[in-house]
């Protein structure tokens, strides 16, 4: 295998594939390459001189988009990003503190976002959605989360976790019934996989589903279900055949409210307090046979594939929170003076801001890449996990450092830094903990390297 790296200008970045026998090691040394993966700057002028076939293969791996599109988004995506940013700046950022303090669900804003198409970005227009791609969705979630992390969570859960599996695995009737009413912000859905006894250990689902005549009867408890108190439907995972272990799990669609389905108390969370999180309790909850989503026994596969996409959503949410924390810190660095000058002049502060910016930008490019691979219908499991891992760690890092830059002001609710710190924390946990992401990435890598 060869290697493809060269430098022309720092605004164009491409992902390059590494070689087991590094040639051009001087370049690599300059870019402090890791043995596994290198993010390099590709010279559009130089690459033809290196193995042209490799540059084509790298292009192919990036999907159908060209190299330059990572630096400069297509016009439609830029417009979409701008409109989401405008909305977040004008409608979400001013109320985010209040939503957080009073644990208020932003119902009106969710409806407005629904009218804009943000609650169903990937859903085809025929079903009531915006008919755009996953990259557009990632941009929307990032901008919305920059305004309000909780609202970003609501948007992400509805798009990726609720609509996502139904769009992929549902029958046309199921899509009409369970997607279309959830595209305009009037109704939101939720996703019930985790249980009190298993979060990361999703294969050990103990919620049971048995068939009784023309109905499924569900019994069990689901835990940590985001949006549940405000949701009108849920995708629930339950075991239909215990002997088959994780291959015996199936997915079901349950309307809310529904007899046999009750909600536990709202959790009092550290962050993203404008969303509700609670247990979902199923006690002889009866649903028609037609409410099974996908084939029997495919529940685990549905959950894992859904979470792959959901990871990009959460990575985008984390990016928004990280960016908001960074913006807050940079703004403060301009305004706060100490030792006779704005603190932005001090190297200690500058180094923090630089580290934060690099963390956010690199996570952003990983997220965009994962989204672009998904749009190109290529495998994106590893990239999605990398995106979620780097973005969530960037968010907690930026949240932490932002408070540090603000000093005492970072610790009080007058400034949003403390809210970003609290909102960021969950992104390393839900939809796959950072530890699970590492396992996923390692698993993919080891598969790629069958000697």
């Amino acid at each position: 295998m060869g290697l493809m790296i060269a430098v022309v200008n720092v605004s164009i970045i491409d992902i390059v594939y590494r070689s087991q026998k590094p040639c051009l090691s001087w370049l690599l040394g300059w870019l402090s390459m890791s043995q596994i993966h290198t993010i390099g700057i590709v010279p559009l002028s130089l690459s033809p001189h290196l193995s042209p076939s490799l540059s084509l293969s790298a292009l192919g791996l990036c999907g159908c988009r060209s190299l330059s599109s990572l630096a400069e988004l297509p016009e439609m995506h830029q417009m979409m990003r701008q409109t989401s940013r405008d909305y977040a700046d004008r409608e979400l950022a001013p109320i985010a503190g209040k939503l957080d303090k009073e644990h208020l669900f932003p119902a009106r804003q969710v409806r407005e976002l629904g009218a804009m198409g943000v609650m169903a970005v990937e859903v085809p227009e025929a079903l009531g959605g915006a008919g755009m791609d996953y990259l557009a969705y990632s941009l929307a979630v990032e901008e919305i989360s920059r305004g309000c992390g909780s609202t970003g969570c609501v948007v992400s859960v509805n798009n990726s976790l609720y609509i996502g599996p139904i769009l992929k695995f549902g029958t046309p009737e199921q899509k009409d019934q369970w997607i279309t009413p959830f595209t305009n912000g009037e109704k939101v859905g939720c996703f019930a996989l985790s249980e009190p006894d298993n979060g990361s250990d999703a294969g050990a689902a103990s919620t049971l589903a048995r068939q009784e005549g023309e109905e499924w009867v569900l019994n069990g408890t689901k835990a940590w279900i985001s949006n549940c108190w405000d949701a009108s439907a849920t995708v629930v995972f339950a075991t239909t055949d215990k002997s088959l272990k994780h291959k015996g799990i199936s997915a079901f669609l349950v309307p809310m409210p529904h007899p046999g389905l009750s909600l536990g108390k709202k959790e009092d969370k550290l962050g993203i307090r404008a969303t509700s999180t609670a247990n979902l309790i199923l006690e002889d909850c009866r649903i028609p046979l037609g409410n099974m989503l996908g084939p029997r026994g495919s529940g685990f596969k549905i959950a894992m594939q859904t979470l792959d996409g959901g990871r990009i959503g959460i990575a985008s949410q984390a990016l928004g929170i990280a960016q908001a924390a960074l913006d807050c810190a940079v703004d403060y660095a301009h305004k706060r003076t100490a030792f006779g000058a704005p603190i932005g002049k001090l190297q200690a502060v500058q180094f923090k801001l630089a580290d934060m910016a690099v963390a956010v930008e690199s996570a952003r490019l990983l997220t965009w890449k994962a989204a672009m691979l998904k749009d190109a219908k290529k495998t994106f499991t590893k990239e999605a996990a990398m995106a979620k891992l780097s973005a969530s760690e960037a968010a907690t890092f930026c949240g932490h450092q932002s408070i540090q830059v603000l000093g005492g002001m970072g610790y009080v609710t007058d400034m949003p830094a403390e809210r970003h710190y609290r909102d960021a924390r969950i992104t390393e946990i839900y939809e796959g903990t950072s530890e699970i992401q590492r396992l996923v990435i390692a698993g993919q890598l080891l598969k790629e390297y069958v000697p």
């Binding site: 439609m76 417009m79 409109t83 407005e112 804009m116 198409g117 915006a130 755009m132």
Partner: protein, 253 residues
Amino acid sequence: MSRVLVGVKRVIDYAVKIRVKPDHSGVVTDGVKHSMNPFCEIAVEEAVKLKEKKFIKEVVAVSCGPTQVTETIRTALAMGCDRGIHVEVSGKDYEAMGPLQIAKIFAALAKKEEASLVILGKQAIDDDCNQTGQMTAALLDWPQGTFASEVTIDGEKVKVVREIDGGLETIKISMPAVLTADLRLNTPRYATLPNIMKAKKKKIANMKPADLGVDMVSRVEVLRVDEPPTRLAGVKVETVDDLVAKLKANGTI
């Protein structure tokens, strides 16, 4: 039925900190974020609203400038305009372009497109001229409803509530007419994602001022651009008498 022309101008975004070029010939525009003039957004919103209420049939968004202005036209299309017209002006002509040249272009287009209304923002936030609407009306010899805070179509006439120094003035003018939008006319909508998608398919026609018989020669020459003087610290006084004494002492009264 009727057709409305809406002018949209691409200006430096309102949130950007403006910097004067080192040679004082203008402000720095390279690499600076640009967006649609806020008053133009309000104009677009009003036109789209009139279309939704079925008073007019077609809204055409027009912008004059180099290739970049097509982004602004597309935003107008995403807000609901039906098609766009890009009048290409670039280089020295673009830098020297002012209300008179734009007014001539709009007057020519209004006649060519047989528009019943031309709706513009009251002024642009970069030059604050507040002249284009008035000049366009004069060139066309059409009535004008400027500083509009409320527009109602009543048959062949338009009722316009204008914000003037003394308060609110209501006038009734016959169409065709020129209106300029003031701040409180409406709240512009956010472009929805489906509309952004649809905007991609809407047509933007391309033409040059010469095609409309307009000469772009400017009779105005910008000599120098400077930042406003830095605001000096104020002086606090204890009593009204002190204030009057100080004002007298420095010749203000």
